[in-house]
């Protein structure tokens, strides 16, 4: 029986553990500590937790000040506000001076659900990866989240981690190894290369299993490190297989798919197709209804793979 854990839950726990081992870790939130799960850290280390209230620009700016003083600040809010509303502060006060601020934002993507488009950021990967020196990470499950939080703390420089609201299946056990800048091949097959990130990794794996029964063998790569991208793993696979499909719960403009296109665009004989949210807004509905509507379910992936193979 598969366990289902939301990446934000894993984040809260990982943060509290991190706080034990490193007194430089401070945590800031903007009145959403119950939702982002930084409340777990707050309970354990109240003196190192700072609730900045509903003020995300101040949240990021204050985190920058903590980093200037040698702390390792983790700043959390909903992704829409942490990197949407406060984008310029992330750019000018964190990324430009290359400060050691970790922005771990939850409720990214469509799966915020009923709150609707105003709260569903499907542009955050585009907004963050465009900044020089910014590390951009998306965990696929709880195990990866925990390792990612540790890796982010050990990494010198700004990091953005995209976390989700919904529970996602536990894909990896403790033998799994996340590294910044490394993509993981989690299934091998010669017919198509599926590169997924975040909550799309599980349905992609499921689609790959279905495709197998229909005679189509897929390689599945979990690309948790959007920036830096693992060129050493992805380029040879793409050259060998030739057909690539990217999968993300993000706009197909500017996210994982775009990053892969940028990486592979100069190689002849490779076709890259992007699957994600097309150029449109989200809307209110339960997460699972939205995933169906925006065609992000395993059966949608199966269908897209067949279409893509017909095209190439």
């Amino acid at each position: 029986m598969t366990d289902y854990i939301a990446t934000r839950d894993a984040y809260g726990k990982a943060l509290a553990k991190l706080g034990e081992g490193d007194s430089r870790v401070v945590v800031l939130d903007a009145d959403l500590s119950g939702s982002t799960k930084t409340g777990i850290f707050a309970k354990k280390f109240p003196e190192r937790f700072f609730n900045m209230g509903v003020a995300e620009q101040d949240l990021i700016g204050t985190a920058a000040g903590f980093a200037l003083a040698g702390k390792i600040p983790f700043a959390s809010s909903f992704a829409m506000f942490a990197v949407g509303r406060a984008w310029e502060i992330v750019r000018n006060s964190v990324a430009y001076p290359h400060l050691n601020v970790k922005i771990c934002a939850s409720h990214a993507g469509l799966t915020v659900g009923e709150d609707g488009a105003s709260h569903q950021i499907i542009e955050d990967l585009a907004l963050t990866r465009v900044m020089p020196g910014m590390t951009v990470l998306v965990p696929a499950d709880a195990t990866e989240t925990e390792q990612m939080v540790k890796a982010a703390a050990a990494h010198e420089g700004p990091v953005y981690i995209r976390l989700g609201r919904s529970k996602v299946p536990q894909l990896f056990d403790s033998s799994y190894q996340f590294k910044i800048g490394k993509a993981n091949v989690i299934r091998e097959g010669k017919d198509i290369l599926l590169i997924a990130c975040g909550i799309m990794v599980a349905p992609t794996l499921e689609a790959a299993r279905t495709l197998e029964t229909q005679g189509i063998a897929a390689t599945v790569v979990n690309c948790a490190s959007i920036k830096p991208l693992d060129a050493d793993t992805i380029i040879p696979l793409a050259k060998k297989i030739g057909t690539v499909l990217t999968l993300e719960e993000h706009s197909i403009i500017g996210g994982l798919g775009s990053a892969i296109c940028e990486l592979l665009g100069e190689f002849p004989g490779i076709a890259v197709h992007r699957h994600g949210v097309n150029d449109e807004w989200g809307q209110s509905a339960p997460a699972e209804v939205l995933l169906k509507h925006y065609k992000l379910m395993p059966e949608d992936i199966v269908e897209r793979v067949k279409k893509v193979r017909g095209q190439t």
Binding site: F50, Q57, D58, A64, G65, L68, K71, E88, P97
Partner: protein
């Protein structure tokens, strides 16, 4: 209160640094003239009277910190840092030039005393608060200063930071606000009046001092008084004259964002050379 000799010394440094600022701006042919001249007394009082810092050991952990939130006045900061010995004055030649550490707006280079990248208005107050919270957490007695402008008070983020500092009773925080009434499009009373600033900051939990920011005695005395305040952040609202020290620039919005021509520079230097501290 420091001796009258010390005040005279600070006034003399201000005079010299105003000339440095004009020369570096003239060479760069780009930048802001009015602001750096107007707030020079405050910058000089911070770097040569009030702040604990050591140009020979720029990364000294217990140094006081200064964040220049109104980063377009960078030449005033560069003049102070070079005069203090963080880097040679010959670097002024490269202001705003490709590859120079002296960017148009400050770019972080702590070994040169440039503590933070700033310039996008409204961001500095929160950054300084973060430094102050960290100092409190580490039980350091350092003080965190930041400089702001009246135009900057139109940025919403400034008030987010003001609310945080007041709420958290950051008494290791001292802000100076250069109130020269001028922003790039004209007088701020005609664009978006920010007055009354004292009442606004008081309402946010600050201790407010209102001074003549071009009067060195008032500046140093306000900085001394601010240090004694417990349980509240302090705001020094300094009324200044934009372009102070050079009659052709004084109180002229036109000189907010332009640099002196050859003739203007000559006139200005001549005028500044004539001044002797009273």
């Amino acid at each position: 209160m420091p001796s009258s000799e010390k005040i005279k010394e600070l006034q003399e440094i201000s005079r010299q640094l105003r000339m440095d600022v004009l020369q570096m701006l003239h060479k760069a042919k780009s930048g802001h003239t009015g602001g750096p001249l107007g707030m020079m007394e405050m910058m000089v009082a911070l770097y040569f009277y009030k702040m604990h810092h050591d140009p020979k050991n720029p990364l000294w952990e217990d140094r006081d910190r200064f964040i220049l939130a109104n980063g377009h006045t960078a030449p005033a900061l560069y003049a102070c840092l070079a005069h203090a010995g963080y880097f040679p004055k010959s670097e002024f030649q490269n202001l705003r030039q490709l590859g120079s550490p002296l960017q148009g707006h400050p770019k972080r280079k702590p070994e040169w005393g440039i503590e933070m990248s700033t310039g996008s208005l409204g961001q500095g107050l929160s950054i300084a608060n973060g430094l102050a919270l960290a100092a409190r957490l580490d039980k350091r007695s350092t003080r965190i200063y930041s400089m702001h402008s009246d135009g900057e008070a139109q940025e919403g983020m400034l008030w987010e930071g003001a609310m945080s500092a007041g709420f958290r009773k950051l008494d290791n925080r001292c802000c100076l606000l250069d109130f020269n009434n001028v922003q790039i499009d004209g007088f701020n009373k005609d664009i978006k009046d920010v007055s009354p600033l004292d009442e606004k900051f008081r309402a946010f939990g600050w201790q407010v001092f209102t001074i003549d920011g071009n009067n060195m005695e008032e500046v140093v005395s306000a900085l001394d008084e601010a240090e004694k305040v417990k349980g509240k952040p302090t705001m020094i609202i300094a009324k200044t004259l934009i372009g102070k020290g050079v009659s052709i620039f004084e109180n002229k919005p036109a000189y907010h964002g332009v640099t002196p021509s050859d003739a203007e520079l000559e006139l200005a230097l001549e005028e500044l050379n004539r001044i002797t501290p009273s």
